[in-house]
């Protein structure tokens, strides 16, 4: 059976690529510290020596649209083109090509359906910055095949928070039952408090530092039940209108398991959002 060697949850800040590659007067004053933190975080994946990456993210109205919006979608393709014109325009992100792991995609789809998740699938998924940002930060050599899993945290009606946790638990079971000798890491990206297109956007910090502190504690302690007790679809509007991306962090808590404390946690308070990085090693410390 496959081995789950790392579970990683991260924010996905699309400005990292531009900030980390900028030079001279264009380089922001926070870039060096940001790079240092990301490189330390990257080492937590490197140490796990994965063969394949299951990547949880969310399309930001790049390919998926309101005429046919899936709640949970699994990519099943030999390759994934990545990043879109408007991400290139606003974030300076490069065009990328990632390799797929179709056997694991097929297994997740078949077994996931049988486990009670009505998963959508795509044989031609162009992925966006929710998945390419963690490749850029955690695996810049882009040398591992991926299984992309998209969640809808963006276009109401959304699934309930508990459904994200349940899917996370199921993903772990599916990986650990996959008849393969591959070493699998799961990487999911989301947000803490975040406001986009609203009156609290682009402040000096995230719109709700108190929510961020609580959220980091929930994740760091694997405190799923406490988190579910405080978070609802309705309440997630309060810390910022884009905070529903936090449900992808909840999915990753489901992968890691109730009460599982993280092996690595770091945060970085940038303008308009709090960056947060978490790693669990299910088989024990690496």
């Amino acid at each position: 059976m496959a081995e789950l060697v790392a579970v990683i949850a991260s924010t996905h800040h699309p400005f990292y690529y531009r900030a980390s590659t900028a030079t001279g007067a264009d380089r922001p004053d926070f870039a060096d510290e940001w790079v240092r933190k990301v490189e330390a975080f990257r080492e937590t994946l490197t140490r796990a020596r994965p063969d394949v990456l299951v990547m949880v993210g969310s399309d930001h109205f790049h390919q998926l649209w309101l005429d046919n919006m899936p709640q949970f979608l699994v990519g099943k393709a030999p390759f994934y083109d990545a990043n879109f014109y408007n991400e290139e325009r606003e974030f300076g992100l490069p065009r990328m090509l990632l390799r797929g792991q179709e056997d694991l995609s097929a297994y997740v789809l078949r077994e996931g359906l049988d486990a009670g998740f009505d998963l959508a699938f795509s044989n031609e998924l162009r992925i966006d910055h929710s998945i390419t940002c963690p490749i850029i930060t955690l695996r810049p050599q882009n040398d591992l095949p991926i299984v992309p899993i998209y969640t809808n945290i963006f276009a109401p009606p959304l699934p309930q928070p508990k459904r994200f946790v349940q899917l996370g638990r199921a993903i772990r079971q599916l990986i650990e039952s996959w008849p393969s000798d591959q070493r699998v890491a799961v990487i999911g990206t989301g947000h803490l408090s975040l406001e986009l297109g609203g009156p609290r956007q682009f402040g000096p910090h995230g719109p709700d530092p108190e929510f961020d502190r609580k959220a980091v504690d929930w994740i760091a302690n694997g405190d799923i039940e406490k988190c579910l007790g405080e978070v609802t679809l309705e309440s997630l509007h309060l810390p910022g209108n884009a905070t529903h991306g936090f449900m992808d962090f909840m999915l990753m808590m489901g992968v890691a398991g109730e009460g599982q404390r993280v092996d690595y946690v770091d945060t970085y308070d940038l303008f308009h959002t709090m960056e947060a990085y978490f790693t669990w090693y299910p088989g024990g410390p690496r």
Partner: protein, 119 residues
Amino acid sequence: MSKYLLDKFLFTVDRDPELVERYREDPAGTVAWWEETQANRILNCVGAESSTWLAFEEEERAALAGHDYVKLFELGAHPFLTLTLFIGMFERDHGPLEFQKEYARRLAHFSLPYPDIAT
């Protein structure tokens, strides 16, 4: 209210560099052309299978034609779509983050709960 159509306009313009420039330079003309020829296009179908019934209401048409992102927020357009398109059109005319912060200031009279964005 036709929030879906508002979002469809923002989505289809934001993903197309030529349309972004066209909407920036001629908002009223672009909105009129788009409603006439594009609004009923089903995005993953051939033209012969288009819809027949989609149209803006007057205040929606006026908000788009006026580049009025405050009104679009009030009408429940998806804030991510509105923001990214307007950054794409107007950030270039401002200093770093200047446009984004001004955008927030112009929305400062809104308090929670914000207008519903469900379509």
